[in-house]
């Protein structure tokens, strides 16, 4: 029964949020295609993670599991081999892969190996007139492209935080163990070390993100931003120039090249609002912009605008929030 195959992975010992988002996308497609959703669950020591159960809880009946010691953080070649093995077993029409560090290497290579069609970095998936139709940003977020995917299997990589995680919809499920025969010594790349950068709250999952841009003038400006973020219980992000200049870790960058976030509150401080930045934050529920230039394009996407020097606005803002929270 060919259908939709979600390539799922774990993070911090549980099914990753991106994998759940893919399940949401797959279920929406399946509502029209009706050919069923299965998942390739890839990792090591999966038994203790509850990931297969979580997939069943969210409507995925068949879980093809590859549990192999080579499937460790960042080991793309191993994930590719495992995903390929499952795809050859399940013979899906559509394969969904999260466009994260590993997924952006895996998806194109998997499409190539399966001689399928490929669209990367999708932000919307739909079935229109029986055809699989996807949308993705183009031209630095200035345009939205709509593509009809006719080739099969259709391998689609999906930008994290573009789709909603689905509501639970429990099904009686089964787990099929797939033997992927990965020889760790034969893999062309090997991750020697994972270097984590500091971030108190996972940026992509934070409900509040306070971001600083070039307008902060230097790393010191970020101290104020970090204080405001801490006060709001949120994470700190940045536009590209501070990350490029090394004022902040590159993993804080939000936008086309950086991360996509959709928090309840996004505060942009000293950020002009270039389309490449907006591409990564436009889905935020409430957007606040603080910028001394009233003509800055960021005010075109913001809901609340404060025109002025951030150095004069943020300190009284922090003080006032402190007071309100103390009450």
């Amino acid at each position: 029964m060919p259908g939709i195959l979600v390539v799922a992975a774990t993070a911090e010992g549980a099914l990753s949020r991106s994998s759940l988002e893919l399940v949401g996308g797959a279920r929406a497609l399946d509502a029209s295609l009706g050919s069923g959703v299965s998942a390739a669950l890839l990792g090591h020591g999966l038994g203790s993670t509850g990931a297969a159960e979580a997939l069943h809880q969210h409507g995925v009946a068949t879980v093809y599991r590859v549990d192999h010691p080579a499937l460790t953080a960042g080991q793309s070649d191993a994930y590719l081999a495992a995903a390929e093995q499952v795809a050859r077993t399940a013979k899906p029409d559509v394969v969904l892969v999260g466009a994260d560090t590993v997924g952006r290497e895996v998806a194109p290579r998997l499409a190539h190996r399966l001689a399928g069609a490929l669209v990367t970095e999708c932000t919307e998936l739909a079935v229109e007139g029986g055809a699989v139709v996807v949308r993705r940003q183009a031209y630095g977020g200035r345009a939205l492209a709509t593509l009809v995917v006719r080739g099969r299997p259709a391998v689609l990589s999906v930008k994290p935080r573009s789709l909603d995680a689905p509501e639970p919809a429990p099904v009686a499920g089964s787990v099929v163990d797939v033997d992927a025969q990965i020889d760790p010594n034969a893999l062309p790349t090997r991750v020697r070390e994972v270097l984590r950068e500091k971030s108190e709250v996972g940026l992509e999952d934070a409900q509040v993100v306070v971001s600083g841009g070039r307008g902060l003038g230097g790393p010191d400006g970020f101290k104020m931003i970090e204080e405001l973020a801490a006060m709001l219980g949120g994470a700190v992000g940045s536009s590209r120039p501070p990350a490029d200049a090394g004022w902040v870790p590159i993993s804080w960058q939000i936008g086309q090249t950086g991360k996509t976030v959709r928090p309840a509150l996004y505060v942009a401080v000293g950020i002009s609002g270039a389309t490449q930045h907006v591409a990564g934050m436009a889905g935020s529920r409430t957007i606040v912009a603080i910028n001394r230039d009233p003509e800055a394009p960021i005010f075109g996407v913001a809901h609340l605008g404060l025109v002025g020097d951030y150095r004069e606005i943020i300190p009284p803002l922090i003080a006032r929030i402190k007071e309100l929270k103390a009450r």
């Binding site: 290579r109 200035r142 995917v149 062309p188 790349t189 090997r190 086309q256 606005i313 803002l317």
Partner: protein, 261 residues
């Protein structure tokens, strides 16, 4: 070490919005009359190659698929920055080709060039942002693949690179030949060519091939571009007024109303 760097010419990504338009016939960005530049991260990829050349010796070949009529500046810049030679696949239709079709074409040329230890690309093209050329080239060439490489940590023994990752960096060891896509980093800010380099660049070899030299590879890969739309943003910003303290006060109250405090 033989290094091939894939360079894409794009319409300046920082073009003002009023100059941005989609051609309804090709469903691609209108290029006529717009400034064309080297795609942002391709300059970083070239810089990485040139640093390897400076430090340990390497031959650096710049490779681009582009309409020859417009590609001059890109090639001249690459040679002036320090590439040893350039190969241009002159394809007037290249701006309309799908990513997989361009990857097949690049792979065909690289196989023809024959000698390479490393192929470098940008981590994403500034216009389409597909991030697929490097992984597809790796498959086509049977080479190792690492994307979003911020730096090369070692190249004298096994190749060790630092890949930008969701949570920080991965230190990755890769076999040669390898295809690496390069992202920007403090360590790979593109150099500016000196006047003398611009002059000597004129004497460097540029080979021009046509797609016909590579066999047929036009194919949409089973994906049809139906529409490329420019979403209109409806500005709905409410400005909070007053002096900085009053604005801060107003914002704090609004955040509480929105239950964000």
């Amino acid at each position: 070490m033989d290094i091939i760097v894939c360079l894409k010419q794009v319409v300046d990504p920082e073009l003002p919005a009023r100059d941005f338009a989609i051609d309804p016939a090709t469903r691609r960005q209108v290029r006529e009359g717009r400034p064309l530049v080297l795609s942002t991260y391709d300059e970083n990829a070239l810089e990485v190659a040139l640093q390897m050349k400076d430090h340990q010796g390497a031959k650096v070949t710049a490779l681009t698929i582009a309409p020859q009529a417009t590609v001059g500046d890109t090639v001249r810049l690459a040679l002036a920055m320090g590439a040893d030679e350039a190969v241009v696949i002159d394809d007037p239709r290249s701006p309309e080709l799908s990513g997989p079709a361009r990857a097949r074409m690049l792979a065909a040329v690289i196989r023809k060039i024959g000698r390479y230890d490393l192929v470098l690309t940008g981590c994403e093209s500034a216009d389409l942002v597909e991030r697929l050329i490097a992984p597809l080239l790796a498959e086509e060439l049977g080479a190792a693949c690492v994307t979003f490489v911020a730096r090369i940590d070692a190249a004298d023994g096994p190749l060790v690179v630092r890949r930008q990752a969701d949570e920080g960096y991965h230190v990755v060891e890769a076999r040669l030949p390898a295809v690496l896509s390069v992202t920007s980093d403090e360590a790979n800010r593109p150099r500016l060519p000196k006047v003398k380099d611009i002059v000597t660049a004129k004497r460097k070899p540029v080979q021009i091939w046509t797609p016909g030299d590579l066999g047929s590879m036009a194919d949409d890969g089973g994906v049809e571009v139906r529409d490329v739309a420019i979403p209109q943003r409806t500005g709905k910003c409410e400005f909070l007024t007053g002096d900085p303290a009053q604005q801060a006060e107003a914002l704090a109250l609004r955040l509480r109303e929105l239950k964000l405090l």
